[in-house]
């Protein structure tokens, strides 16, 4: 048959076969294939999304852990610091207390010593006074044993009184 004169039979069979082919392939091939492709693309999509989600979750968890760790570290530091402060305070307080106590004791001792000394001095003074009186009595007794001496004394006293 010539190149450009289409044969009627071929057109007829082409029509029949192509329409049948289209319908058969559409129902039994293209529909299941495109549906399967679509489904697979969908599942890949959702799997990727889930992976992304998991990754984000992981990083969030990691960040949370980090944060927790950081918090714990800070808390530990603060606790240690507080403990140190407390200990320092206690030591300081004890020191202060000891110092004041010792000061107080020293002061009390000094006061006691002062008082003892004062008392001793007072005592000594009294003893010296009474001794002096006894000595003076003895001396006077000796000097005024004779009358002459007594007269001399009276004269002298009278002289003094004249001056007045």
């Amino acid at each position: 048959m010539e190149f450009v004169t289409p044969g009627l039979g071929l057109i007829f069979w082409q029509f029949v076969v192509f329409i049948c082919l289209l319908l058969i392939l559409k129902k039994f091939a293209w529909k299941p294939i495109t549906a399967a492709l679509h489904e697979r693309e969908h599942s890949i999509d959702s799997a990727l999304k889930a992976a992304e989600e998991a990754k984000r979750e992981m990083s969030k968890l990691k960040a949370d852990n980090e944060k927790l760790l950081e918090e714990a570290r800070l808390e530990r530091d603060s606790i240690v610091k507080l403990a140190r402060q407390t200990a320092d305070g206690l030591i300081e307080e004890a020191k202060d207390k000891a110092t004041t106590e010792s000061n107080r004791i020293v002061e009390a001792a000094r006061l006691a010593i002062q008082q003892e000394r004062q008392a001793a001095i007072q005592d000594i003074k009294q003893q010296v006074a009474s001794l002096s009186l006894e000595i003076a009595e003895v001396v006077l007794r000796n000097q005024l044993k004779d009358d002459a001496a007594q007269r001399a004394l009276v004269n002298k006293l009278v002289d003094d009184a004249k001056l007045n």
């Binding site: 044969g7 071929l10 076969v17 289209l22 091939a29 299941p32």
Partner: protein, 341 residues
Amino acid sequence: MSYAQEHAASGHEEETFKIGEMIEHHVVDSHEWHFATVGHTHITLPLPVILYIPGQGVEVFSSSRFHSEGFKDEGEKQEHTYKGFYIDELDGHLKNTDASLKFYDLSITKNVASLFLSAAILIFVFTNIASAYKRRSGQAPKGMQSLFEPIVVFIRDDIAKANITGKDKHGQPMYEKFLPYLLTVFFFIWFNNLLGLLPGGANLTGNIAVTMFLAVATLVTTHIRSNKYYWGHIFAPPVPPALWVIMVPIEVIGILTKPISLMIRLFANITAGHIIILSLLGLIFIFKNALVGGVVVPFVLFLNGIELMVAILQAYVFTLLSSMYIGSAVEGHESHDDLGH
């Protein structure tokens, strides 16, 4: 054909190699499937001739009836008349000695047989692939499945989805409606192009009847769902009304030139490829020199490689252009303005 006639008329010896006849014999349709000639013996599959004669019913007989009993030689034509039917040497069509007899030739010719074969292959291959998707649901593709999957995805994404935009009234993407047609056309053309390249294969996609049918199929598919914007563009183009006198006929002609270009492009590309290869191989027999073969065969091999590429390229071009025509007929008003028409 006229070339061969000349030779017959001038009474050349039978053995003379007639390249024009040889090429035509390979490229056009025939009522029998001739595979090879070994010596003087033809290896031929006779095909059924089916004739519908209005008023008389259907007449079916084997095409071997057109040969005389002792048919052997190449030079002998299928000139034997059976019930008044014979094959016209001039155009190859079936004729009756009674020219007034009205009948329709619906014979299973070589191309029709090849068409059945290709349809069977296509159905076998793609239903198998479809069942593989069911059987191996959720798994990676394998074998034929992984061979054709990228092509199917390419047609879906880069041909259908890219050119047919918009959604139908149910909110489904418009391209999904046309995807089965585009896939069928693509694989039909590709498989038949490849079958035509096989030795002894029929030149189905290089037959104007087949490409005409495919072009008409695209024409019908394009207009079956065309919207008012498409028709508005043709009968009331966005130009000053004074120019409508020129524009409307041009647009109307444009409707027809698109399928005609599809028809001729596929037909001419495939037939030309066959003719080039056959002509080059014919050189060997014209010069009757083995040395010519040494030059021609590598070149033919190279051209065959190109033909393999053309086979898929033409399938791609036909499908791409079809999807563009369909896309232009169904696209909405919004995208219409974006093109700057």
